[in-house]
Symmetry: C2
Subunit: 366 residues, 2 copies
């Protein structure tokens, strides 16, 4: 029905000159050329995880997260089940707890169960951040590890309070349960907590971070923890087929993205919070959470889907401007969107985006 | 003892102006710049395995191998256990047979067992190509699949005869046992068999090929087979963390490597065979096999290791020319090398290489 409309809208969105969400898009040529400028003529590629560039970057990220060691892997889907399996082997129990909305649970074809032989216990209610009580309830099974996601993508980038997080960390340690962080978007957290990346990571035994979301890299992830954990992770990385002959395009793009975006994320969050206020003043439009905590939120629009996509497509094609990405869900007269703020929002001024929204909501939603 | 000498030799080898084995080395900058020239300004990256470039390349390789479908993955270590697991699930048995020198057996920390829950049966004698009888013997267990490696790297690139291969394929089909090809170096086989890649692949149910060995790519592999097999492989690729946000640097380098090297491999083999004859005329020097079948062989030199590395280092440093790579094994007064021929051997003429060898063997070996 409207699947085709969404596909047309996606195309118009991708071809727009100004796109508010995420980072401004780059083609392959531009990216490759910019990576080439980032290295010298004599710089040799990495070889199966060894080499100055990759080892130096692992050191840089380990230091940033205040951990003893770090390992670069092709993806988070590879990194996280590896971390959980290491903790499970060490604790001699296959049980690991995680929010039901965890990437590990939703988007990896159950690799943690099927490939890594783990058993998952869901933490609390899928629509909110887990509480300390949720952790205690999950630990009725002998847990090896608990995965917490900071911030929680599927509920609009929400975070537990700092006090809750410290309590949860203390409690897990008292129970000899390892705490693993899904920090795919950890970069968004320091400005909310007023804590450094290392202070936040200190509450966790292992940390996964990603480079192609908030940091605009190409792909790739890092696992960080103590040296023994990382030594074991290297064996599992090899097993999973992630110890590649060369990883340098990903490492270079990650390094470049870190330098380019990390210090600006609090500014993207500022734009994000201001724009959420504007959206919430529109009839039938509601952000989740109402006051975003990071530089992302989810957005619910109550409207007729077919009419919406017809009008939205015309609007975007005419102006070459896109505010809303394609929806991730259309259901019962509700359209759901994820808005994550990168440097795209700085391609126009705040006033200009507000004007565009005013025009969009008048033309498309009323 | 001589570990340090080998490490020094490796450095001198890497810094030599002319290196006979493999392809001429390229730095990161040169590679990235050459990939950038291979795309147009408007070309968009692939996204989780979708996109014109990656799908077009999969189509190209599927056609080359005469298979219905193909899937690009980050590594062979990821590709092969996936293929074996799919056949095992289909046959409802965990048993798969392979040569004891298979990469799956030697270099993957037993991923096929630990991650993929398979059980391996070793085929025949590790020092030779498996016979039809070896396959029949292995099938005393209920086999899901047999892995054959063409050519067999760890025994100097040896191949079964075409007749043997056809017999083995016919027999496996008659037994409902799937035949999987470890074709990491399949590109070397057409000139030996006088058969096309598709004719060789037609004897197998699934084929893995690699792009960073003979083809000089950056990393990456393709699995090819029927459409149902590839649909299943995509699920396992996701599970193993290989369905990356972007894979284009690997795809571009693979495509470039295929265009650059595939048609030249028979010429590299010609140089390889000629040089093996020269080597075998030297006292204490012996290639394995004596007459190479592909563009690689292994080399055994009987000599005192410490004296060899001292003299070899001086020789290489003085001339900036390297014939022998660092040895893969030093044992009981025997040094073992792997010589694989790419475009490196064409940086000097055959006569020049022969002169260099004459000088090297006189200075270092006598």
């Amino acid at each position: 029905m409207y699947q085709e409309q969404i596909s047309e809208y996606r195309q118009a969105f991708n071809q727009s000159k100004h796109v508010m969400v995420r980072h401004a898009k780059r083609g392959m040529k531009e990216t490759l050329e910019s990576l080439a400028q980032y290295v010298n003529d004599e710089d040799a590629p990495d070889l199966y995880g060894s080499g100055e560039l990759i080892e130096g970057f692992e050191r840089q990220v380990a230091d940033l997260l205040g951990k003893e060691a770090a390992l670069f892997l092709p993806s988070g889907t590879q990194a996280q089940p590896i971390a959980l399996r290491i903790w499970a082997d060490q604790a001699h129990t296959p049980f690991v707890a995680m929010p039901a909305t965890s990437h590990v649970q939703l988007h990896e074809h159950n690799a943690y169960q099927v490939l890594y032989n783990l058993k998952g216990i869901m933490l609390g209610d899928e629509h909110r951040v887990p509480t300390l009580d949720d952790l205690k309830q999950a630990a009725l099974d002998p847990l090896a590890a608990i995965l917490l996601e900071l911030p929680m993508r599927e509920i609009g980038g929400q975070l537990p309070s700092w006090e809750t997080l410290v309590e949860q960390s203390n409690w897990a340690r008292s129970q000899n349960i390892k705490l693993h962080m899904d920090g795919a978007r950890l970069w968004q957290c320091p400005s909310y907590y007023h804590k450094s990346l290392a202070e936040i990571s200190a509450l966790f035994d292992s940390v996964y971070v990603s480079f192609y979301k908030d940091l605009g890299g190409m792909a790739g992830a890092v696992l960080a923890g103590d040296a023994d954990f990382i030594a074991k992770a290297k064996v599992w990385q090899r097993r999973a087929g992630g110890n590649l002959y060369a990883l340098y395009p990903y490492v270079l793009a990650a390094k470049q993205g870190l330098a380019k975006h990390l210090d600006n994320i609090s500014r993207y969050a500022f734009h994000c919070h201001a724009f959420a206020k504007v959206l919430n003043q529109t009839n039938g439009v509601q952000t989740w959470p109402t006051q975003p905590q990071t530089n992302m939120f989810r957005l619910r629009i109550e409207t007729d889907p077919e009419r919406f996509f017809e009008k939205a497509l015309q609007w975007v094609q005419k102006r070459q401007v896109a505010i809303l990405p394609p929806p991730y869900r259309v259901d019962n007269g509700l359209l759901w969107f994820e808005l994550s703020f990168g440097d795209g929002c700085e391609t126009l001024s705040e006033a200009q985006w507000n004007e565009h929204w005013d025009d969009f909501s008048t033309s498309v939603l009323s």
